[in-house]
Symmetry: C2
Subunit: 327 residues, 2 copies
């Protein structure tokens, strides 16, 4: 399944697993890479020492390329980058900051760079900063979101027009048909978070996975617009946030609510009632499923992709070749 993304990252399928906090450890990254995609380790919830361990274990588990996701606003971002370079990780995905900051340094260390954007203007900035690929992530994605709230359907065509870079679509993708849809709009590959966060190999707590695999449409919403927009699943913590926002709580009051480590409490420790549960809208599409392995999930997505694509091709072949003229 060749594309500019499979070429760039030397992978078989243009499928990347997002580097999500508390979910994307060495096991998940290695499983995705072993299945033919690109696994990312999520450094957002790791100290430099923990990250080093995960990179080493990941390398033991897979002979294929994998990468690390670094949210640039992290206090220890520089130390994380040092570990990545020291360990000769070949690919880094950056987000939550300027692509100009680290791209040059990463390239000096022979590391390929993709940057996550939520607007076409920012995608153009990424191209100017010299990144190798952009990830265009829509409103439906779990966790931190862009202020524009632009959905994947509106964002991909806009970013496709704004840049010639290899383009990875993210947000709301969990089926082969959505993968095909992203390609139809000009994407060269896809990144998925939710689908992989809820696999066996994800390092999230089982309670988190079971909760998310039981959510309905409408059970995730965007909060904290006064601070940094974040998609949360409904639970006790979210109810407190909803109530606070409904009565007009200020940014400072909301900051108190968040506290430190609430995502760890929810996603990693398994207190799904009081912790912060970050997951994408698309979780509703997975409702009722078992917690599957990465291999099962990859096989299904790829099968579906080929099935829907063949359907599209058959439709096209059946049409009368001459284009219908407008009346």
């Amino acid at each position: 399944m060749q594309s500019r993304i499979t070429d760039l990252f030397e992978i078989d399928f243009p499928i990347i697993s997002g580097g999500m906090v508390w979910c994307s450890g060495w096991e998940l990254a290695a499983a995705v890479s072993n299945a033919g995609g690109l696994g990312l380790i999520g450094a957002g919830s790791m100290t430099p020492e923990v990250l080093r361990e995960h990179i080493i274990k990941c390398r033991e588990k897979t002979p294929y390329n994998f990468g690390v996701n670094v949210p640039l606003m992290r206090p220890q971002a520089a130390e994380l980058m040092e570990v990545i370079a020291e360990q000769k990780v070949p690919i880094v995905f950056t987000s939550a900051g300027s692509p100009k900051k680290w791209t040059g340094w990463l390239h000096e260390h022979k590391i390929k760079v993709a940057h996550v954007v939520s607007s076409s203007a920012f995608a153009a900035k990424c191209e100017a900063a010299g990144v190798d690929a952009v990830v265009a992530e829509g409103f439906e994605a779990g966790g931190h979101n862009g202020k524009e709230e632009t959905t994947t359907m509106c964002l991909i065509p806009a970013v496709r027009r704004a840049t010639n870079l290899p383009l990875i679509a993210a947000g709301g993708i969990a089926t082969g048909s959505a993968m095909l849809a992203a390609e139809a709009m000009g994407a060269d590959g896809i990144q998925m978070g939710t689908l992989f966060a809820l696999t066996q190999e994800s390092s999230a707590h089982e309670n988190f996975k079971r909760l998310c695999l039981n959510l309905d449409e409408g059970d995730t919403k965007l909060y904290f617009r006064k601070l940094s927009p974040t998609r949360l699943a409904k639970n006790g913590f979210q109810a407190l946030v909803q109530e606070a926002e409904d009565r007009g709580a200020s940014g400072d009051e909301l900051l108190e609510l968040i506290g430190i480590g609430k995502t760890k409490v929810g996603i990693f420790d398994g207190d799904v009632e009081n912790g912060e549960i970050e997951i994408g809208q698309v979780t509703a599409l997975l409702k009722g499923r078992e917690i599957e392995t990465v291999a099962q999930v990859m096989e299904r997505i790829i099968d579906e992709y080929y099935y829907f694509r063949q359907d599209l091709i058959n439709q096209a072949m059946e049409e009368i070749p001459s284009r219908r003229t407008l009346r």
Copy 2:
């Protein structure tokens, strides 16, 4: 361009123009039908007498099928339906209410029915109620939105699974590539609002069209969640709403803000600073364009669709026929 939607409505291209308040008069509906799609008259902003005039004028202007959109919560919904039946309009799109209420009656009058949904559960209800097609409309659409805030990318695969009915995708579609994406996810046709609202034939005020053709990503947001979620473009009125919601205004306080006829003020009368401006997120993709005719817009979309589809087919043809096995 045959599909279950072109068959159902006897049209050339599976493209429907949404029946939007203040925009979708007889001119727009007739132009879309004359261009090979299905034009809808938006009865939401019409009295029964005004609707009758529009239907008669539309019929004079186009020999092809057109329909009427009726928001069921409208006070005069029953009278609107009587006019539609009296005038032998062949197609009705209903929204904002139960599909069980009017579907039987419309069918008795040999009128085909499509119902607008924002969730897969509601789509299943529509199938049970006997509608002929469902419109699945995502979060990115202008105006009234579903409470779930599910995006088109997440909604279409979910609705496709929930019902076998002919499926029309709506919300965030304004290019041939997005039209192809909707088809990739199993939709049988598309409905577009924003794109058609900003054409010459749209009955909206030129100020509205110019404002919307100058909006950026992030310039529309969802408001009135305490009442009925509505997507508004940024302007003076929206700023008042933002301020009120930020300080926790109640539903009643917000109702006062809305007043009566604010959408008419903005969309029809052209006071784009104080009126309510309802438009979809995808307006940002049209930024900088001239106000084009329906014929120009239809030709571009169809050209783009074929272009992107051929690209997809070429990609598929170049691949090694045997499926790559997972590692």
